[in-house]
């Protein structure tokens, strides 16, 4: 057990596991059925949306209930660009332009909203963010000349180019996974650097942050804008994977589903964002296979179970298991035979100290 723990905690093992997962993800779509690729692609789309939400909610501690609005605006920006005459004329660069606009437009909107909203705290900021999808749906219906009205618009331009020799689902997989990987890497470094520490302090206590020379207002605006931009990226990926969007996409209910996915996955955790995406996509898919009428009930049960058993979300599962194992080993430790088997890690008192450095950092951010 101890050897295994030590092995798992060695950074080399982590690198090996990481590389192995990476290789599997790169090679998987070549051999797996189309539906598997499509499912993983959709997971990546919503993992990015949840990641954006995690930046503002999990790391900076501001309640944000309007994330789907930015996803929807990003999706519209991408779809409208690739469908426009100039976007089509540009070919590949039209898609690049679609990506840039899908990030910039929600980013600017997020910035403008944040400049006003970040002056507020707690529930007040939540109320402002609720307004976004509530306003977004009728506006998207109203601007039917560019949004296609309530019927929505489809944008099927993300087929595999000839030269790749790939099927459409494989191409979409690679496009979406590549962009998602870059976004996750950016987020990883963001929350572990200077900004991540600043977010954590703003989250804990704004007065303390201000006394340390960290402007809570500025960092809240920053986190809000980043969340909106990540939402926009997710919107672009949404168009790449789903190839259709409509006002229904940005309805308030879906925004709450994203918040729930964040909590189930694990707020304030990068891995939790991926788990949140998996929850968002896989649960309805599995209930479809078992009992399609049970979607809402199953989702509700999962949320309750996670809140009761793993308040830190699914991402905290390994930590919870480790704690459980240690507690079980507790009586053994008292016995004389067990003393011999005790490892240096086991002797160290205090649960937190035995955790690997990365986990520690996450705990502090909580």
């Amino acid at each position: 057990m101890a050897a295994l723990t030590r092995l798992l905690e060695s950074s080399w093992t982590r690198v090996v596991i990481g590389v192995a997962i990476g290789v599997v993800l790169v090679l998987l779509p070549l051999s797996s059925p189309a539906f598997t690729n499509q499912t993983i692609t959709r997971i990546a789309v919503f993992a990015v949306a949840v990641l954006g939400l995690n930046i503002i909610m999990g790391y900076a501690g501001q309640v944000m209930l309007g994330q789907i609005f930015f996803v929807g605006v990003g999706a519209y920006a991408a779809a409208i660009t690739v469908r426009s005459d100039w976007g089509a004329a540009l070919g590949f660069w039209g898609v690049v332009a679609a990506f840039v606009l899908a990030v910039l437009v929600p980013g600017v909107m997020g910035l403008l909203v944040a400049l006003a909203a970040a002056r507020l705290r707690g529930l007040a900021i939540a109320m402002v963010t609720i307004a976004l999808p509530i306003v977004g749906v009728p506006v998207a219906k109203r601007l039917s000349d560019i949004t296609g009205g309530s019927q929505g618009i489809s944008a099927r331009v993300f087929g595999a180019p000839e030269w790749t020799g790939l099927d459409n689902d494989q191409w979409q997989y690679y496009v979406v996974m590549t962009i998602a990987a870059v976004v996750f890497a950016l987020a990883f470094f963001l929350v572990r650097g200077k900004y991540g520490r600043a977010f954590a302090i703003v989250k804990e206590n704004e007065a303390v942050a201000a006394s340390m020379g960290i402007s809570p207002y500025r960092y809240k605006v920053l986190a809000f804008t980043i969340a909106a931009m990540f939402g926009g990226v997710a919107g672009f990926l949404y168009i790449a994977a789903i190839q259709f969007t409509s006002p229904e996409t940005l309805s308030f209910g879906h925004s709450i589903e994203l918040v729930i996915a964040t909590i189930v996955g694990g707020a304030g955790s990068i891995v939790g964002s991926i788990l949140g995406g998996i929850y968002y996509v896989l649960v309805p898919q599995l209930t479809n296979a078992v009992n399609p009428n049970a979607t809402a009930v199953v989702q509700g049960v999962i949320v309750l179970v996670v809140l009761f058993v793993l308040p830190g979300g699914l991402a905290s599962l390994p930590r919870a298991i480790r704690r459980l194992v240690r507690r079980k080993r507790g009586p053994d430790v008292a016995g004389p035979a067990a003393t011999e088997r005790r490892t240096p890690e086991g002797i160290t008192p205090g649960a937190g100290d035995a955790l690997p450095p990365r986990e520690n950092e996450e705990r502090q951010n909580r």
């Binding site: 290789v23 070549l30 059925p33 019927q151 489809s154 259709f244 399609p292 009428n293 979607t295």
Partner: protein, 429 residues
């Protein structure tokens, strides 16, 4: 060998093994391999159909705000084919008798979910899909269905796109499009012997515009009709009392009320009479329910008299809640099947009956398709003419051969008589 190099080698080995394992797996294309059903090498059966079974997928809202009508869209067909399967199945046009398996998928009225459901349906190997409720949710996988050549048929949306045979070669709508309903009223009004002043209130989207478009086309050139006022509203508007007040000032004797929001329809029925304005009303089929709209709207006075000179709506199917339906032999068979194969009551939403009608249309296509292929199925489906399905209104029949129109082409104008709706031939009649 240094630890560093050994570890690097180990890493490379793991990556290599993973690569080999994955590439060796091969890819089967994601859909079940087509089976050769009759030994005839020339006809290769489409996915989802065997010598004794056909799989049909329905993606519709089964949970969430639209779950009521959504469940009905699946349950009518499940009940119908449940009965047929119990009788041994349906004899197809190729002489083989097959049972029909309906598999339902929950899309929660979310286009993203319905697009995902389509991918899941393809993976599950459905022969065809459809009957599901909703415009954006059906639009979300329309292109994908065309690309994969999977029929997406008898969908319950008033969106005309699904009936454009050129644009939507693998699609067909079931229910009348908005224009048809508006036109049905316009035609009867244009045939009236009296002069009419019409006020129009419509929802500012494809729904309201569709109704108005159909209405205006039908009254074009009619000398007895004058449109005296035309106002719009947004679906999210909290009240339309301002519009009703403004329209009442026009003195119109007919109000074309293309409003889809039930609470607004109720309030407007109350508001107009409080203003002392008593026009004849045209109501869209989804805001015309006697119990859900007209009674709370005060359209019937305490003594049972009608408050307005006329309330008109359009329908194409018999109401399962009406006594004649429940007393008829067909109606009793319908309720018995609903009871046995679903958990629905079968009458709270008309979609249950519509789904039952859709199942009958599917059966017609199955009985005519000569090869176990999707192409043959679509050809058979789009060639149905004059099929008198159960529960259509008297005189109505199914015709799938007209480009631009759904399977249900005959809509009937009805007027409210205080309890339910009855067919009318002429305005005021």
């Amino acid at each position: 060998m240094s630890t560093l190099r050994r570890r690097a080698l180990g890493l490379a080995a793991i990556a290599g093994v993973a690569a080999l394992v994955l590439t060796a797996c091969g890819r089967d294309g994601g859909t079940p391999a087509p089976e050769d059903t009759d030994g005839d090498a020339e006809v290769v059966a489409s996915p989802g159909i065997t010598d004794d079974n056909l799989l049909f997928g329905i993606s519709t809202p089964l949970t969430g705000a639209t779950a009521g009508p959504g469940n009905c869209t699946a349950d009518g067909a499940i009940a119908y084919f449940g009965t047929k399967n119990a009788e041994g199945g349906i004899e197809f046009g190729d002489g083989v008798t097959r049972t029909i398996e309906i598999r339902k998928y929950d899309d929660e009225y979310n286009p993203e979910r319905s697009a995902a459901n389509f991918q899941q349906m393809v993976a599950d190997g459905v022969f065809a899909a459809g009957i599901g409720l909703g415009t954006p949710t059906n639009r979300a996988w329309r292109d994908a269905a065309i690309e994969e050549e999977v029929p997406q048929v008898l969908v319950m949306t008033g969106d005309p796109l699904f009936n454009d045979r050129e644009e939507s070669p693998w699609q067909l709508g079931l229910v009348p499009i908005y224009q048809q309903e508006g036109a049905a009223f316009g035609e009867v009004l244009a045939a009236s012997t009296e002069d009419h002043k019409v006020a129009i209130l419509f929802q500012n989207d494809d729904y309201g515009q569709g109704y108005v478009e159909g209405f205006k086309e039908a009254i074009e050139g009619a000398g007895n009709i004058e449109i005296v006022g035309e106002l719009t509203y947004e679906p999210s508007a909290p009240s339309l009392e301002g519009q009703i007040t403004e329209l009442s000032a026009t003195g119109a004797d007919v109000l074309f009320h293309a409003v889809s929001v039930v609470p607004r329809a109720i309030e407007n029925l109350q508001k107009a009479q409080s203003l002392g304005w008593f026009p004849s009303w045209f109501l869209p089929s989804n805001t015309a329910s006697p119990g859900g709209v007209l009674t709370p709207g005060g359209a019937v006075a305490a003594d049972g008299a009608l408050v307005y000179p006329g309330i008109y709506a359009v329908s194409f199917s018999a109401a399962a809640a009406s006594p004649p339906f429940q007393e008829s032999e067909e109606g009793q068979a319908y309720f018995a099947a609903i009871e046995e194969y679903t958990e629905n009551d079968g009458f709270s939403f008309p979609h249950c009956v519509w789904s039952w009608i859709a199942a009958q249309i599917l059966e017609q296509a199955f009985m005519e398709m000569e090869e176990p292929t999707r192409e043959s199925f679509m050809a058979a489906l789009l060639a149905i003419d004059g099929f008198e399905a159960q529960f259509l209104l008297p005189g109505g029949s199914i015709n799938t051969t007209t480009d631009g129109l759904p399977a249900v082409q005959d809509v009937v104008l009805q007027s409210f008589n205080g309890r339910g709706y009855a067919n009318v031939e002429s305005f005021g009649g």
